[in-house]
């Protein structure tokens, strides 16, 4: 039977080995791959300002982005592509509480500059290589359309 010393060696050895592998892979991911997949060359100052505004207002407290956040408001990863610049600018700059079909968004009344920065951020996010996320609706074509 396994002794207590063997059990301890299993714990310590396993932890060290797998943690080192994890550190190595993390280094490779961050130093080599993320800059390519996220197009870091397009990470302009406007994008960085946009990210800070996104952070400061806790947009992730209602929306998801890259699939992370809360589930009260739509996924924003492809918002730029889906809604376009003009629509997003209106949402961010409007001074009246914004209520698309009942669900309320905070009226941020952002300046034109701030709104443009957030849009630059969303555009940059939308261009990332996300290994296929968000997925294409794969059952859409199977939904029968009744003849008129």
């Amino acid at each position: 039977m396994l002794s207590k010393n063997q059990a301890r060696a299993f714990f310590l050895g396993g932890t060290v080995v797998f943690f080192l592998i994890f550190l190595g892979l993390s280094w490779h991911t961050l130093a080599r791959e993320v800059p390519k997949q996220t197009h870091e060359e397009n990470l302009t100052e406007a994008v960085v300002r946009g990210k800070q505004i996104f952070d400061k207002n806790n947009c992730m407290g209602c929306h998801t982005i890259l699939g992370e956040g809360a589930y009260y408001a739509p996924e924003l990863t492809k918002a730029y592509e889906r809604k376009g610049e003009a629509y997003i600018k209106t949402v961010l700059t409007v001074k009246e509480p914004w209520q698309p079909r009942g669900r309320k968004m905070v009226a941020y009344a952002m300046s034109d500059q701030d709104a443009s920065d957030v849009i630059a951020f969303l555009k940059w996010i939308g261009e990332m290589d996300l290994n296929g996320f968000p997925p294409k609706p794969d059952l859409q074509s199977k939904v029968p359309v009744p003849a008129k």
Partner: protein, 444 residues
Amino acid sequence: MKYKSQQVAWWFFALSGVLLLLQITYGFIMAFAHLGYDGLHEIIPFNAATATHKNLLVVWILSGFMGAAYFIIPDEAEHELISVPLAKLQFWSLAIVGVVAVIGFHLNWWEGRKFLEIPRPLDYLVVANVLLFLYIIIMTLWKGKKRTTTSLVLTMGLLFAALLYLPGMIWFDNQTMDSFFRWWVVHLWVEGVWELIMGGILAYLLIKLTGVDREVIEKWLYVIVGLTFISGVLGTGHHYYYIGTPKYWLLIGGIFSAMEPLAFLGMALFAVAMYRKGEKRHPNTMALNWTLGTAILSFVGAGLLGVAHTLPAVNLYTHGTFVTAMHGHLAFWGAYGMLVLGMITYAAPLLTGRKLYNAPGASYAFWLSNIGMIGMTTAFAAAGVTQVYLERKVGMDFIDTQQAMQVHFLVLIGAATLFTTGIVMFVVNFFKYGRPTDEALEPA
């Protein structure tokens, strides 16, 4: 209770109970908002409610862990805590930082990073607080007569948890890197070092409640925490599928995270086996219920419901939907919520000298909260599956999908009411035990 300084644990347990009630209140605010009743939007917008709900969760669990450590370490090390005034100082600073953070969330003072919303200046205070806590624990262990495996695993878990908080404090311009390190905190906590804390507390409770030989329990403790790290560290990859990180994480994260339930299965089998084997029956049967309950429900909530969406092909569709919320609730409750409540149930009679093990409401508190939480998990599951199919698979619009899901939030509120009734009974019962007293000290 053998050592007078263990009494300080009571304050942490009391804080835990109060914050749990407050957390639940914000849960209701969000559940009603999902139903379309969001009258509080002007004062408490959804993002303030969610930040409060998630952070209070983390703080009440951590407060419970700290209380557990202050109770367990003197007992295991056979030494009084090195300083009770320092421990009290640590308590009050924790409570104050927590309250300031929650108020800040309502005034737009936060960072939009899920679970890590506490703003950076307060983070430094958190770090100072945790350093003080670790100093007290480690010095007590150092000066103590004994260093048991149980106390070492518990302390190691607490120390690593503190270290892992640091990567979450680095600034990044790149959202992907920000998210990458957010998971070093969130994932490596709940699926790594917190399992050490859980293993330590569970082993302590089993030793006390079942009377099984320490050597046997501690040997299996090493095996379980070994399994935790072997699967859980590379298992972090299940959060690196779709955030701008390379494809090899699909393979690595998929394989290793699929093995993570083994550690939780180990804990469940271990607890049940020790319960069967134990000859001594401690009179505190409610504490035993919670202990076995946490071992079993953590396997269901974290293990089974975790593995349900951890494979890349599934996660592509469920990532960031209510399927995640389903798992998040039962995993946190089963693994860490019940563990803290179990520790409180064991310690309260010993701290206060009120040896009432089966108070009238105690059994209702246990069953109502657990049945309620399982009901809530079911409601989230129904909402999540609906969302995945309508929005992700059929391509329906966001708001149309949300409206189709609304009925499940009605069920959620019903189940949450049961849950809350149980929790209120638990907290009331705890306070009925009164304050800790020296009369509860066991004669040496």
